[in-house]
Amino acid sequence: MEKWKGWPKLQFESELDPNFARQIASIPGGDKLYDCIQCGTCSGMCPLSPCMDYTPRQIVAMIRAGFRKEVLSSSTTWLCSSCYSCTVECPKEIRLTDIMYAAKRLAIREGVYPKKFPIPVLANEFFKAVERSGRNTESWLTVRLFLKTNPIQLFKMMSLGLRLWLRGRLSPKRESIKNKAELHSILKTLEKEYMVKPKRQLGLAGKETP
């Protein structure tokens, strides 16, 4: 007798997050989110929607309905390669790519992104590298990424790495800027600043009348 995991297709309102939409909408231009007519142009344009667990359109619907958990842990936002086709073609001028970013940032902040999924790892590594040295060194980024996600891949890529190295397109030399102090003080002042407002920073529920 297997364990009861709850109704697969029954969603109790009490489990949804009524503030989720407003949180995402708090990014610049984010309130367009409320204009969505669910036409599906975004999903149709998206080169990766066939691989996503929810299509971009569904994500918008879910954000508006407050499916916080599902959205933040979905693969959709991470598979978004930010090619901006959705943003350009949306009939309601919703900047979907920005919304995906917002979701990604929330997911990372709250540590709910799909684990073992290489993309967030890449993001993190990239982020750290730049924080450290102001630039990103592709060779090291790749190495670290594969070590963290699947080391076997690293070997698979060896030959490619070699061929690139022979052509001087991949060097172990770490790229870096000179004036790191400057950079660090810039980034430090922004430590606690968020583009997606933490919930506590959101006002009372309900949109304000214009």
């Binding site: 007519i37 669910q38 036409c39 599906g40 142009t41 999903s43 149709g44 344009m45 998206c46 929607s49 066939p50 929810y54 299509t55 359109r57 569904q58 073609e89 009939p91 309601k92 001028e93 009348t209």
Partner: protein, 667 residues
């Protein structure tokens, strides 16, 4: 210079009547406070409030107070004067007082509907009431001027709306000028094959009306003509109409089309406007077999004779009635009419504007209008639905909302596309048996028998996919897709992206205002809504009137409409025009300018400034003289008068200055 003795009916006794308008006003305006405040204002003798001042009991209140001599001037604080000023002026009259001892304070549109809370609302309401009271105390008794109305009507545009309006008016004995830009009447409807939802043939129901127009003794039909000038005002418009030369004498031509046969152009080379470019015509042509009038027309752009004056004119030789006349020139007609109905219709959205849909880039992508011609038995393919290759399509996609519901093109829903797409789906299915895919965002079928028509299509196993098509390409990913047009869209009901290869695509293009709407709007001095359609006076209560009295709207020029709605609206417009004409006169507001001769310095500033030449100069008395019949009451001259001797009824300097005082200094 000016003095404050109150003319006419003695000491002002102002009655203030505050309307709750249900909760429309009372929800944002503290009525009781407002009433208390009003009591403190000068001359105010009575203040009352009531749920609906415009209702009979509400009006009763005012009449009684007037009747009992408690008040002789009235302020009603309620909605916009554009809404109910006439109503309450009548109340004054009924109560036995001059209707112009009345002023309205707009505390709904300008207060309760636009303020956040009661505090703000009440404050603003008070100030507006104070303004009205201060002003009304200085009002004077006035007479309305009556101007007789010219009984003829001008109708611009002869699509189904124009035609229906024309026939209705003509049948009621009115003389109608029907002006059409194209060489024939009929408009878009004449291009259609069948009409939804009944599927009766457009020609069968339209052509009888077209010939009726031609035959009707009360209708003067001017095709191939355009209105180029409009002067005057309600009841007495002076209109200039340009009749373009068609180089064929309408009276003589019998429409035998011998000339077309004979034209030196052996093959038709000119793009055929009527078949929206799907076929070619000759320089001399008759748009379509049932064209009305059935008269040939020669187009200057392509006719050899007209272009270079060297052609053997074989058309002339074959024309027995000698109707062809290359010396014909354009002709300007000047007419007087009392009312004008605009029925200038719409244009379809240019599908090239949406690059992703490849219109004009790939073969076999058609707009809905092109398909209408294609399925029409009298059309370029004589009713056959075929691809460029000549074969019949096996799979057809119909894409809804092309150019509609899109911030990058038109925000609005074009209202007819869902239904005509269903119709086209049915017709193509019927003609070819092809698999048909309808891509829609929302299926909109409100209307008598419309939903039923949708049901019918569902039973005809047409595919319906809820999803806006992302792109149409010739990029094949599978062998089945080779050589096809591939539709990529999300099936939103399934939640999966689908690639569907088809042979033919129909783009259901939306409706747009005519390209020259702006010029026409100016010509007739009316407004447009922000999406470019002609603006009606009131969306619900005056849907066919405009802000210019005597100018009415019919059909799609006011917004996307299907045939039933256009006809209904045309009827309404005709009725409005009729009502206006049968009354026989218009009453003009007496807000005209007048000269206080003792102050006039005879500087003549006003004489040149008046746009209507209503002011002349009396040399003997050395004063300006205003012609009340010509004055439209803009007050420009009054503002210009250096001596202040010119004044405007209902808007004298002291009245306005008092209103200013009231609006600022009490609250």
């Amino acid at each position: 210079m000016s003095t404050t003795e109150i003319r006419s009916n003695g000491t002002p006794k102002v009655g203030v009547y505050v309307c709750h308008c249900g909760i429309n006003i009372s929800s944002k305006v503290e009525i009781s406070k407002t009433v208390e405040f009003a009591k403190t204002l000068p001359y105010v003798t009575i203040v009352r409030d009531y749920k609906f001042m415009c209702s009979d009991p509400g009006q009763e209140l005012i009449q009684q107070d007037i009747g009992e001599g408690k008040v002789n001037r009235v302020v009603v604080a309620s909605c916009s004067p554009l809404m109910h000023e006439p109503t309450f002026r009548n109340v004054m009259a009924k109560g036995g007082e001059n209707p112009f001892f009345f002023q309205m304070a707009n505390i709904r549109e300008h207060v309760s509907w636009v303020t956040r809370n009661k505090e703000e609302g009440t404050k603003k309401a008070k100030s507006l009431i104070a303004a009205a009271v201060c002003r009304v105390a200085l009002h004077q008794p006035l007479e309305r001027k009556r101007v007789s109305i010219h009984p003829d009507v001008l109708i611009v545009g002869s699509g189904i709306a124009g035609i229906h309006a024309a026939l209705t008016l003509a049948d009621s004995g009115k003389k109608v000028y029907l002006v059409e830009r194209e060489p024939t009447i009929g408009g878009h409807m004449a291009k259609f094959d069948k009409t939804f939802p009944t599927l009766d043939c457009a020609a069968c129901i339209l052509t009888p009306k077209m010939s009726a127009v031609l035959a009707h003794p009360n209708i003067i039909l001017w095709t191939y003509s355009e209105v180029i000038g409009v002067d005057g005002f309600v009841g007495n418009f002076k209109v200039k109409v340009k009749r373009k030369p068609r180089y064929v004498n309408e009276e003589l031509c019998v429409g035998c089309s011998e000339c077309i046969e004979a034209c030196v152009y052996k093959k038709a080379r000119v793009e055929d406007e009527f078949n929206v470019g799907l076929s070619k015509r000759k320089p001399i042509y008759i748009p379509f077999p049932q064209a009305t009038p059935l008269v040939a027309v020669i187009d200057e752009a392509s006719c050899l004779e007209l272009k270079r004056r060297k052609c053997k004119k074989s058309c002339v030789d074959v024309c027995e009635p000698n109707a062809i006349d290359f010396d014909q020139t354009e002709e300007i007609k000047e007419i007087d009419v009392g009312a004008i109905i605009l029925a200038t219709g719409f244009k379809t959205f240019d599908a090239r504007r949406i690059f992703r849909y490849g219109y004009g880039k790939y073969n076999n992508i058609y707009t809905s209008l092109e398909v209408e011609r294609m399925v029409n038995a009298a059309g370029p393919t004589s009713g056959e639905v075929i691809l460029k290759s000549g074969q019949a399509p096996k799979m057809v996609a119909i894409i809804h909302c092309v150019g509609s519901r899109d911030n990058n093109t038109n925000r609005y829903c074009s209202r007819v596309c869902c239904m005509y797409s269903l119709k086209i789906a049915h017709l193509i299915k019927e003609r070819t048996g092809a698999e048909i895919y309808n891509f829609y965002i929302d299926m909109r079928t409100p209307g008598k028998g419309y939903e039923e028509f949708y049901d019918k299509l569902l039973k005809e196993d047409v595919h319906f996919i809820r999803g806006r098509v992302a792109e149409i390409t010739d990029w094949a990913m599978t062998p089945e897709e080779e050589g096809k047009l591939i539709i990529r869209a999300e099936d939103t009901l399934v939640g999966a992206v689908r690639r569907i290869p088809v042979d033919m695509v129909v783009l259901s293009v939306g409706l747009e205002p005519q390209a020259d709407t702006e010029e026409v709007r100016r010509l007739f001095n009316i407004s447009c809504s922000d999406d470019g359609w002609f603006l009606e006076r009131h969306p619900k209560l005056a849907p066919v009137s405009t802000f210019t009295d005597g100018v009415f709207l019919a059909g799609a020029c006011q917004g996307p409409k299907d045939i039933p709605d256009s006809v209904a609206q045309a009827g309404a417009a005709a009725a409005e025009a009729m009502a206006l004409i049968d009354r026989g006169y218009v009453e003009l507001d007496p807000n005209t300018a007048y000269v206080q001769e003792d102050f006039c310095s005879g500087c003549k500033t006003c004489v040149n400034i008046c746009p209507f030449n209503a002011i002349s100069f009396d040399g003997d008395k050395n004063v300006a003289v205003v012609n009340g019949a010509l004055c439209k009451g803009c007050g420009t001259c009054v503002a210009a008068c250096p001596s202040g001797s010119l004044q405007q009824n209902l808007f004298t300097d002291e009245q306005i200055l008092n209103e200013i005082k009231g609006v600022v200094s009490y609250v």
